[in-house]
Symmetry: C2
Subunit: 241 residues, 2 copies
């Protein structure tokens, strides 16, 4: 019998302690929009991303001359260079640069998983590329949905369910947790048309109110990049194979 690895889903950072294990790769997911923006950034030549949890840390980096992205309530915080719109990172302007980033939920999930052996950044944008890499690692995987202020968030869980579906389809993974099974079923319900399903999502409603329809359309379209952001020390770089 093959020794199959586990692929599980944690729905919000506040439940992380219930799901974490040793020797686990954690996939941090914040579809709308932090981890999508990170994938887009590396796809567009950004060299390094430093995620920080608080605006204070972000401000300190800014004072040292760093390019700093800061988002709260779906908008760029006044005085900062960027927010978490993927399009902000696609201008070619940041090729080879280091960007510091703080967002409402995604960077918090990243710091929550600081004790994980390995952390990578997942989104629908790099779904298949990251799935293939995870399958090759032969390690347990935990998909950590960033949620919305400690609450369950539909698009992150659906994206986590897509990773579960891909990894199980490889024959090398199983899921034990109900959270993972639910994510997989929700993904199946959604996959015919991500965008339509997520009309129901509260987060999507929040972003629509901010006129961010183009961002959402981009973030909800799978497999637009092979970029895999991976943690190295306390920052992210592009995984080079």
């Amino acid at each position: 019998m093959i020794d199959r690895k586990k692929v599980e889903v944690c729905h919000t950072p506040s439940l992380y302690n219930q799901y974490k294990k040793d020797n686990q790769i954690v996939v941090v997911i914040d579809v709308l929009r932090a981890t999508s923006a990170m994938c887009a950034a590396f796809d567009n030549g950004v060299e390094r991303i430093i995620p920080v949890a608080t605006l204070e840390e972000a401000q300190a980096y800014k004072e040292k001359g760093f390019i700093v992205a800061a988002e709260r309530q779906g908008q760029i915080v006044e005085g900062f260079d960027l927010g978490n719109s993927p399009y902000g990172y696609m201008t070619g302007k940041y090729k080879g640069e280091t960007i510091v980033i703080t967002t409402t939920n995604g960077t918090r999930a990243f710091t929550t998983a600081s004790d994980a052996e390995e952390v990578v950044i997942g989104s629908l944008l790099n779904l298949n590329a990251l799935s293939e890499w995870l399958i090759k690692q032969d390690k347990d995987v935990l998909c950590l949905a960033s949620g919305w202020k400690d609450r369950f968030c539909l698009e992150d869980t659906i994206c986590a369910g897509a990773f579960v579906e891909n990894l199980i389809a490889s024959g090398k993974f199983i899921s034990d947790e109900d959270s993972s099974i639910a994510a997989k079923y929700l993904y199946r319900s959604a996959k015919e048309n991500h965008f339509a399903f997520l009309k129901a999502s509260s987060h999507r409603r929040r972003l629509r109110a901010l006129n961010l329809n183009e961002d959402m359309k981009y973030c909800l379209t799978p497999n637009q990049t092979n970029a895999i952001p991976i943690r190295k020390a306390d920052y992210l770089v592009l995984l080079e194979e």
Copy 2:
């Protein structure tokens, strides 16, 4: 425009503070098996149920001569009269009696919601009866899934989704939270055949290992009773209309 009430879902007691509101009716759900057993108990003439969180409290009641049910790890705790199998409450032996009960997850959810204005006990067994009553109350409703040791639990969320579906169908309720939308979709995926869908559930696997197939079959069959257990002070009684 009608002032529609909210029906939301909280997936585990540890997230309760993120979802609780004033003037809310909380529906505590632990399908396998605490809240199913409570519905069965009142359906079979039990007069009063006192849920307690710890074995120590349960033991103290036992020493005072109460009938005490105690379940941990799916089994009756040694030295106690009953566990949380609904069949234990159907013998006719407890008609008119008061039963103290402590279980792994369900009684904890009940105590978590102690600050709620009103608490009722939900299960698939009293799905339609309780839905009809909730629709008449004209108050916000929070379905609190008991989960499994602070983790997401499939059958509780599916049952919560069934209440969401029923309440929204009345035209008097809406859901805002992604957790509620997910529960509703999971319920829809499951409703063709609860039992088959829940084959995937980890909790069900745990109970199967304990030879509790009959219990599960019973607990997963909707609408077997009109009994609505309701909190009065710190115990439960049968709601009389």
